[in-house]
Symmetry: C2
Subunit: 232 residues, 2 copies
């Protein structure tokens, strides 16, 4: 077997990042996971990311970000209430208060720096534009622009070809939760490793009521895959 190429995977500990890691692993990439501690309420996600990295037997770094940058989001600010239910998210133009300003761009910039330093041309993020389409940093246009930026702003981008330059890959971008779960199931993913809940307990038990729990439940139901989520 030939030498494996390297990849950086943004691993939040949620279902989408778990499936994204499974995709990268199925390409036989040598994966290096990155998780960020940005003062998110759902610290259970970080525990979940650790469990996932251990299960996949991959390198895993946890980077702490300056939390004072992330205010005005219900995911980081205890004074804001996490919505328990939101309907028609893809149909109106409101950005949910669970949006964390500039988050994905900061995550990706760290990942690209690491990629360039260890010689990886793949950076994976499990962003999806379908279910949560009002997050500005989950839109296809954001990733196209970001890839343009790194092709201009890295040595590998300026000197390389499209096949050697670093690129952010978003394999879930156009997929519904149903499709993501079905694909992950086919790849043999153990979904119980992941936590999606915005207010999970320290032990990783999900509330079953928040926006994120409801999307996850709906995805399992529609895909016909057994829901192994651990509810509190």
């Amino acid at each position: 077997m030939s030498q494996k190429e390297r990849a950086i995977i943004l691993l939040s500990g949620g279902l989408d990042s778990l499936v994204t890691l499974a995709i990268a692993k199925s390409y036989q990439l040598d994966c290096h996971a990155l998780t960020f501690d940005y003062g998110q309420r759902h610290i259970a996600e970080i525990q979940s990311a650790k469990r996932i990295a251990t299960a996949f037997d991959i390198k895993h770094d946890i980077v702490t970000l300056p939390t004072h940058l992330f205010k005005n989001s219900s995911l980081t600010d205890q004074n804001l209430k996490v919505p328990t239910h939101q309907t028609n998210i893809p149909h109106d133009n409101q950005i949910p208060n669970t949006y964390v300003p500039g988050r994905n761009m900061l995550f990706l910039t760290h990942a690209v720096s690491l990629a360039e330093s260890i010689g990886a041309r793949f950076v994976f993020i499990g962003a999806t534009a379908v279910d949560y389409s009002n997050y500005p940093d989950c839109r296809p246009e954001f990733y196209e622009a970001f890839n343009q930026t790194i092709s201009q702003g890295t040595k590998a981008g300026v000197q390389g070809t499209p096949m050697t330059a670093i690129r952010v890959h978003t394999p879930l971008l156009y997929l519904s939760k149903q499709m993501i779960i079905a694909h992950g199931h086919k790849l043999g993913v153990d979904f119980s490793l992941s936590v999606s809940c915005y207010q999970a307990t320290a032990e990783g038990l999900a509330c079953g009521q928040c926006e994120s729990c409801l999307w996850r439940k709906k995805g399992f139901s529609e895909s016909g895959v057994v829901d192994t989520t651990r509810y509190g």
Copy 2:
């Protein structure tokens, strides 16, 4: 289980299109395959496409193109010799004589028309830029431009959002043959259904000598997946 969304899959009968179909199916998409008869020498590919469509139990149309458009390619012109070996393809700037002028654009245009007429937002093609990087219509830039074109040139593109508009998906674009085979294996693909050889027999037996056979052999060897290709 919810209603399945529709997808058009360009199915040549080769290994890459087989894996691409398996990916689309794993998303639980309702797949409709399109194969083109463009006077290619390796007519065994069309038989292989039929076998694959039957195995996956999906709709399958074979479209005959005006073959006089495709001269100057060793794949369609009996007067040109198919190369038996080509080294360093990704490193020089020569376009192999197996390139068929404008082929993928013509295939995709048919697929987009069908997609718009049956209400599919996904069009899949198994193009890969890594091993055959000198085919102009296998480069990322081509697909980015084509997607821009259909977003401007279709009703769904002009009226829709990025999540409802028709888009060409190239899940293999940045993957090596090794990665494609490993991913397909994980999805349960039966590789013996496909024919990659540029001069396969009518029964679908591969020569084992041509450029395409050598890339395929190398991919199996590097991935560690058992090569079930039928050689003559």
